[in-house]
């Protein structure tokens, strides 16, 4: 932790000048190819720090050149170091001495610019040629492009800068090495891969969920994750469970011996994640980026002991699950007569059963510190089964990519529903797809969060022009509470707010019955003031 280096067999994220990310696994003694940007030996990155920027050397030479931060910044600004120094200077304004009546300052515009595809004299074959033999990791090519552009003098400084930047992005053979963390993985999956597989969860959504669910070191968390393991990795990162130094994926023989030892060691009771999954096996494929493969788990990885998985059948109806049926006991004497293979199969079966039943028992006992849900499945049913497993005051967050399902869920915990449940008992809300007892969730809230990016350049600061659309997921948050037995009624004078109607069933009366669950239409501060 105190020394951050690129270690062998870790996954890295290489960001190209165009902003496109590439995920590669750093295996020593290989060539990493970045397509048209060239290739370099993986050893050149080994044991070097993260977040540095490198140029890929031109073909005869092989290797990388470390680019200083100053140079990176200069190229990002499009060679605009001078404009940067000017600070607030308006680059588009220039002093035109002749036109004195205008006050000497004239806005240079694109009035005279003519669109002409022929203004670039280099043909694409020439560009290809240059690309092959060009020097300076593509910088040479950019320079040639600028030189051979006939209308370059007509461009305003801003346009010129933009042009340079565009060409730089296209031809510069440069990349930045970033660590593959939950943050960068999310960005990568959202922008380049299939975002639907991670339910189009954005970084700000994940961050908000982790905070609202009070995820911190030492807690026990119940997770329902259908995003391929992204939510699990996010929680694991906050629990410090992703710190692992990967080794060469060999020693398959040794693994067997270690696996035998594993169930006997006491499993940790704190700082754990319990995952409930809908299929027989969990889909945690994204954990491979953090060197953990659920199909072939590394026993030394912290997740091996701190992550438990069980499926819905094992939770809801454990008696119906075959894997939870106790395997036949064979006396030791009989066992001794078995052949080696058969005997080890027997023990393996036994161990698996022991492990599964222990996990199921542990989860069913409940007492979790928080619940995090990101699912395609209906949230109501999930919460119906999961919320009772939480301890009092535990936080609940649930995410769906469709706001409708979250809103439907929030409605299930409305004041009216709670009142109905209290008055009429279980038969009211007890349909199969409901949430069950609504009174065990306090203050249901629906959060919507979005980060807006800005471009910061001297004199040209504004929000970026385009951003990702797609699903606008929202987060449901609530608190698990322990309601008292018997009838409860809220007290206090709520009637001063609005003149009451004869109608005994309007909104005000609901507030009277149960002021807590209702969305308050007026500012709560006003109420506090009137109250104290």
């Amino acid at each position: 932790m105190s020394e951050e280096r690129i270690l062998p067999y870790t996954y890295l994220l290489l960001r190209l000048p165009s902003g496109a990310p590439r995920v590669v696994r750093l295996i020593p003694d290989l060539t990493i190819s970045l397509g048209k940007f060239g290739s370099f030996p993986s050893n050149a990155l080994l044991y070097r720090p993260y977040n540095l920027t490198f140029d890929i050397l031109d073909p005869p030479a092989v290797g990388l050149r470390l680019v200083s931060a100053e140079e990176v910044t200069r190229d990002i600004l499009g060679g605009g170091e001078d404009t940067e120094a000017e600070g607030t200077g308006h680059y588009d304004l220039e002093i035109a001495g002749e036109s004195e009546e205008d006050g000497g300052e004239v806005m240079r515009t694109n009035k005279e610019t003519v669109d002409d595809p022929l203004s670039q004299k280099l043909s694409w074959t020439e560009i290809e040629q240059l690309k092959k033999q060009g020097a300076g990791s593509g910088r040479d090519l950019v320079q040639r492009l600028l030189e051979s552009h006939t209308a370059i003098h007509q461009k305003t400084p801003f346009a010129l800068q933009k042009y340079t930047l565009r060409k730089t992005k296209k031809f510069l053979r440069r990349f930045t090495v970033l660590p593959l963390t939950v943050t960068s993985l999310t960005t990568y999956l959202l922008d380049t891969k299939e975002p639907i597989k991670i339910l189009e969860m954005r970084n700000e959504t994940i961050a908000l969920m982790l905070s609202l669910a009070n995820v911190h070191y030492g807690g026990r968390y119940l997770v329902i994750d259908e995003s391929g393991g992204l939510l699990v990795s996010a929680v694991a990162e906050r629990l410090g469970l992703l710190e692992y130094t990967p080794t060469e994926p060999e020693e398959s023989k040794e693994e067997d011996t270690t696996r035998k030892r594993c169930p006997d060691t006491p499993l940790p009771t704190a700082n754990t994640i319990a995952l409930i999954h809908p299929n027989e096996q969990p889909n945690l494929s994204l954990l491979k980026y953090f060197s953990y493969d659920t199909n072939n788990p590394t026993t030394s990885h912290p997740l091996h002991t701190h992550l438990r998985t069980l499926n819905w059948l094992q939770l809801v109806d454990p008696n119906a699950d075959i894997s939870l049926q106790r395997p036949e006991e064979i006396p030791v004497e009989t066992l001794a007569t078995f052949k080696g293979g058969k005997r080890s199969a027997y023990w393996r079966k036994h161990r698996r059963w022991e492990k599964t039943s222990r996990i199921v028992a542990e989860v069913q006992k409940g007492g979790f510190d928080g619940l995090l849900v990101a699912a395609f499945m209906d949230l109501k049913g999930i919460l119906r089964h999961a919320v009772p497993l939480l301890k009092g005051s535990a936080q609940i967050v649930a995410y769906s990519q469709n706001r409708e399902s979250v809103i439907e869920l929030a409605d299930c915990y409305s004041a009216a529903r709670k009142a109905e449940w209290r008055n009429e008992g279980e038969e009211v809300a007890d349909d199969e797809d409901g949430v069950g007892d609504p009174t065990i969730v306090l203050a249901p809230t629906v959060h919507e969060t979005r980060v807006r990016k800005w471009q910061v350049l001297p004199g040209r600061t504004h929000p970026v022009m385009t951003a990702r659309g797609g699903a606008e997921g929202v987060v449901f948050a609530g608190t698990r509470v322990l309601p008292v037995e018997g009838k409860v009624e809220a007290r206090g004078r709520f009637r001063g707010q609005k003149k009451r109607k004869d109608d005994s069933n309007d909104d005000d009366s609901e507030v009277g019955v149960d002021g807590r669950g209702e969305m308050m239409p007026t500012s709560p501060l006003k109420k506090v003031k009137s109250d104290i």
């Binding site: 003694d29 070097r48 961050a207 969305m519």
Partner: protein, 607 residues
């Protein structure tokens, strides 16, 4: 509101204090100085700590809580709750109000109600509240505001982007009300440094928050709060103006020794300051503070002329981040670092004479972790602050500079009345409107006829008739369409967040060491990253023939093994009917092909 010190936060002679309720929820609500959060109703939260009866006077932490609590009883408009009825039950419990007592609050309320009239006749029903375990979010929502608070949507995103994890060291400047301090402490927590209750890892660094604040009163209150919340040891509050004095900690190794400057070794920095660019020069990689930020005029509010030296510009000859070194180091021949200072007039402007004296103490360490990437976030409401900050960050060698704002809204969910009737609204469809107008016309006609005939036969009033036909009454909680709206008041702008990354310093020696390590551990296809200065590490070439052969043998073996494994895995997968997105092993090159989903030949075998 008493400020006396608590027995819980007594010095080390006593047994170690309990774990913070913020980090480990106790089984039941204890008598403690640490607050519980009383949830009266939505958005009305009060932090309150419960004191046993033998302690004189209840301990309340702010005026609002004091208004509620008197003599061991919590008085709210939802009823009175003696502390004894709350303590001892589990967190998250709903608590019913005690029968009304004849205390002053109730008497006052009664008088008011009497004046109000009829409402007093209503029998007193039992109100309730919920007692919740404290979390950073609940604390943010209920804390006594001393300054503008960093709210959860912002703080969560900041901590996520700064990659604050258990074991991180976080610097926070401008602690303010302590909202972000609590969130930060939770994020870095991986056990107490004093090993309290044996929680936490055996080895490795313990996470810590260093919180700087220049307002004396706020520092006192915050220190008191942190102590009461059991976060001492995880959070260190320092009273200082970081723009002037930097981030180094004053520590004494022992009683005799003089105070030394110790680096906090930060891996993440959060600056909530009015002028973050003034604090940035204290956050560089160099082993000495560099407050002599070369600025174009206007960047610093009142730069007093300090010692000036003409800057020597030596291009990008080092692989290191551009650094600004004070004069003395320039003259020091042993200093290997190169200097590249660009100011308009070629002079270094020093902010303050006092500071400039400090710069000559070259023994000062950097406040940042020397071997890790450092991430920074500044939090400023104005765009002018952002442009200045970004400009200085760029000068100081920070990369990946990004500016965002977080837009957060809460969505309110409710049910409409059946058919979408809102209170007092008229017809909902054109058809209804037409029908109603027809009725009105008919009724008027009818009324005229009746007046003329003067009969007693009555026909229903159209409004009444319409109401009986179109009942607006809700039949149950599931009646009516679900509608949403945004909360009545949104925080449309909190602040702009500037993020930046400072990679670790990478010198020629580091590069040589890394290269040596590579040579040791790999099979020999070795090429170093080369840089202007780092050249001479040998010609750039692939490994010799021998290595290649060796490699290819290994490749064959690996490929075979990979095939076997893939076979096994496939069988396993079929049995388990596992998910489609499990990585499919590549048969040709086995595990040397990264199983990344983007397997578009990102890597290929050499040779």
């Amino acid at each position: 509101m008493s400020e006396k010190s608590e027995p819980d936060m007594a010095p080390t002679s006593k047994p170690l204090p309990p774990l913070s309720a913020f980090l480990h929820t106790p089984e039941s609500i204890p008598y403690s100085s640490s607050p519980s959060i009383i949830h009266l109703k939505r958005d009305l939260l009060v932090p309150l700590s419960f004191q046993s009866n033998d302690t004189e006077g209840p301990e309340t932490h702010d005026a609002r809580a004091a208004a509620y609590s008197s003599k061991g009883v919590l008085n709210t408009r939802f009823g009175d709750f003696p502390h004894s009825s709350i303590v001892g039950i589990p967190y998250g419990s709903q608590v019913r109000a005690a029968p009304a007592t004849n205390n002053e609050q109730n008497r006052k309320r009664k008088r008011k109600e009497d004046a109000g009239g009829a409402a007093t006749a209503e029998p007193v029903s039992s109100g309730f509240l919920h007692v919740l375990a404290p979390t950073a979010e609940l604390w943010t929502a209920s804390l006594p505001h001393r300054t503008q608070v960093v709210y959860t949507p912002d703080s969560s995103f900041i901590l996520h982007k700064l990659q604050v994890r258990p074991g991180s060291v976080l610097i926070e400047a401008g602690a303010g009300s302590g909202s972000f301090t609590h969130a930060g402490a939770r994020a870095v927590y991986n056990g107490y440094p004093d090993g309290r209750s044996g929680v936490g890892k055996e080895e490795g660094r313990r996470g810590k928050v260093f919180s700087f604040e220049f307002h004396k009163e706020r520092v006192q209150k915050l220190t008191d709060e942190i102590g009461r919340h059991g976060l001492d040891g995880l959070v260190e509050i320092v009273h200082r103006d970081v723009c002037k004095a930097g981030f180094l900690l004053k520590r004494k190794a022992d009683e005799l020794e003089e105070e030394r400057d110790v680096s906090p070794g930060a891996t993440a920095v959060f600056l909530d300051l009015p002028a973050p660019w003034l604090a940035l020069p204290h956050l560089t990689r160099q082993t000495c503070p560099t407050p002599s930020l070369p600025t174009s005029t206007g960047l610093t509010p009142s730069p007093s002329p300090g010692p000036s030296a003409s800057a020597e510009k030596i291009g990008e000859s080092t692989a290191t981040v551009t650094a600004i070194i004070p004069l003395q180091d320039l003259l020091d021949p042993s200093s290997s670092a190169k200097v590249s200072i660009k100011t308009e007039d070629g002079t270094i402007t020093i902010l303050d004479d006092k500071v400039s004296n400090e710069t000559f103490d070259s023994a000062k360490p950097s406040a940042l972790s020397s071997t890790e990437t450092v991430r920074i976030c500044t939090f400023s409401p104005c765009i002018e602050q952002v442009t200045r900050t970004v400009s200085v960050l760029r000068k100081l060698g920070w990369v990946d500079i990004e500016m965002v704002e977080v837009q957060h809204r809460r969505v309110e969910v409710r049910r409409q009345n059946p058919k979408g009737y809102e209170d007092g609204a008229g017809p909902r469809t054109v058809g209804e409107a037409v029908q109603r107008l027809k009725w009105v016309g008919e009724y008027r006609e009818h009324k005229r006829e009746r007046d003329m005939a003067d009969t007693t036969s009555t026909r229903q009033n159209p409004t009444e008739a319409w109401k009986t036909q179109n009942s607006r009454e809700k039949k149950g909680a599931k009646d009516g369409k679900i509608v949403t709206r945004i909360e009545p008041e949104i925080k449309s702008h909190t602040s702009y967040l500037v993020f930046a990354v400072l990679p670790r310093e990478w010198t020629a020696e580091d590069e040589a060491a890394a290269q040596a390590l590579v040579n040791q551990t790999t099979k020999g296809v070795v090429n170093a990253p080369v840089d202007g200065d780092l050249k001479g590490n040998g010609k750039l070439r692939w490994g010799g023939e021998k290595e290649e052969k060796l490699l290819s043998k290994r490749q064959i073996k690996k490929a075979e093994r990979g095939k076997r494994k893939a076979e096994e895995r496939r069988v396993k997968a079929e049995e388990a009917m596992e998910d489609e997105s499990a990585p499919a092993a590549n048969e040709e090159v086995g595990e040397d092909i990264p199983s990344a989903d983007d397997g578009n030949d990102d890597m290929e075998v050499d040779g």
